[in-house]
Symmetry: C2
Subunit: 274 residues, 2 copies
Amino acid sequence: MEKVYKSEEEFLKDYDSSMYEKLSMTVDILIFSISSEEESNYRKTDKKKMSILMCKRDNYPFKDKWCLPGGFVDIKENLDDAPIRILKNETNIDNIYLEQLYTFGSVDRDPRMRVISTSYMALIDKNRLNNNLSKNAAWFDITFYEDKNNIIDIVLDNGNEKIKFKIEKILREKTTDRYSFKILENKDIAFDHPSVILSGMERLKNKLEYTDIVFNMMPELFTLGELQQVYEVILGKKLLDPAFRRIIANKVEKTKFMKTGGGHRPSYLFKYKK
Amino acid sequence: MEKVYKSEEEFLKDYDSSMYEKLSMTVDILIFSISSEEESNYRKTDKKKMSILMCKRDNYPFKDKWCLPGGFVDIKENLDDAPIRILKNETNIDNIYLEQLYTFGSVDRDPRMRVISTSYMALIDKNRLNNNLSKNAAWFDITFYEDKNNIIDIVLDNGNEKIKFKIEKILREKTTDRYSFKILENKDIAFDHPSVILSGMERLKNKLEYTDIVFNMMPELFTLGELQQVYEVILGKKLLDPAFRRIIANKVEKTKFMKTGGGHRPSYLFKYKK
DNA sequence: CTAATAGTGTCTATTAGACAGTATGTT
DNA sequence: AACATACTGTCTAATAGACACTATTAG
């Protein structure tokens, strides 16, 4: 029978924390940014892409595969502080938008030992980075196509290497919007990181509609055309100009600056209105 | 310098998993249901309340305080399976709606040792329970009031005991909807469970609007008035009848059954249309 | 009859979708 | 002049909010 203690001090002195077998905890960070691909036609504006940062693993397990930046949570570190520390090391930037995504804890997700991992999503404007990424890290442009059967094809492209995976969104409950992800094809990505990528993309899409989250990926000044392109690339569909402008009208503020030189009518630069 | 292995087998044989100090993982489950309070006036319909299940702690730490049901994640158990197992033990019901809420991992959240805890939200129709709760568990009706400064007063009432706490919602980022919770007053609830309760309430409110999640808390057959009351008690505001009926019109199906005996016009019973 | 809830009709205000039009830079 | 994008006007369709009205029961 369980002993009943008279005070908390007495209880804690006696407490044997090895009763349950312990495990390791990591965090994975899905960092989103926007990149521009230059057009050959001088008149066309640069095509925007969504991109994520990945690292090449240089040891087992999953040697030579790509994974999201991450690392172990220190025993004396708050969980939510771990991604901040890792981002600081990886990209040398503080003050990044970060939010917790989901905690993945399948028994077999790491062949070394039992590891549970909390994933985070970060949003940045890549241009503010001082290009000193660690040399095994690279930005991948991400394009996706979802068919009517909830099967999603993803292509990641870092300029040298194109990697693909296929994943199925499975509605977990008839009554809600929760999906779990079943990886159908994947050769190049480590751990369960394809699921993390999909979770983040879904979260980002949803939040675009009811928050101002997108401005974390934008430079200080931007044209409405650029902002619209970012929306379109995240949502995966074209938007109509007047509708878009109505929606974002009270989120942005016109400045006196203009962007010229595009071979077409110049546009005002806007900034985020808090 | 890190050794580079020739194969994954070789690497794993050599791997020392004690490199990082390990920790314990628990899950906490916030179980929502709806209860009815009988009215003295025979004509009035029962007043609906939102309620949650809590357990009284019979040992340190937090002896004699109330906490959410939960427990340690087994070293050989998938994270998402732990709340299923615990719910089965606690309420003897399978097949309950469950979703992961948030993972709390402050260093000092448990005085015994380092524990990180993933919280889950469960929704049930309390009337389907075979009233064999463990004897230290009780349902608490929950009422809340939020003022203009994002300070929320919560009262929990299990019939014998009324417990209160006060918590502040702090907007973590200007650009989004993420809050963290600062506990302002709390005498009776263990751990960081006030924050878990608030997270769940926020999640439930949001999902009410864009999913069919509410039907997990409803009996097979219900009147539209009852359904509307459940919406109202979760959202904390009155809804207009015609607007409500338009919104749920294509989620429900009229049956041939009616509810009579209320001293007023009888109403049709509806069921969830999948 | 009365109190109480059930259920509907309809007007108005707001928002979303669609399309066409005008404006203005660079080469 | 031609192209490409910037930006606006306006019609229509769909949705949300508000209020008033009718219906039907137990006591």
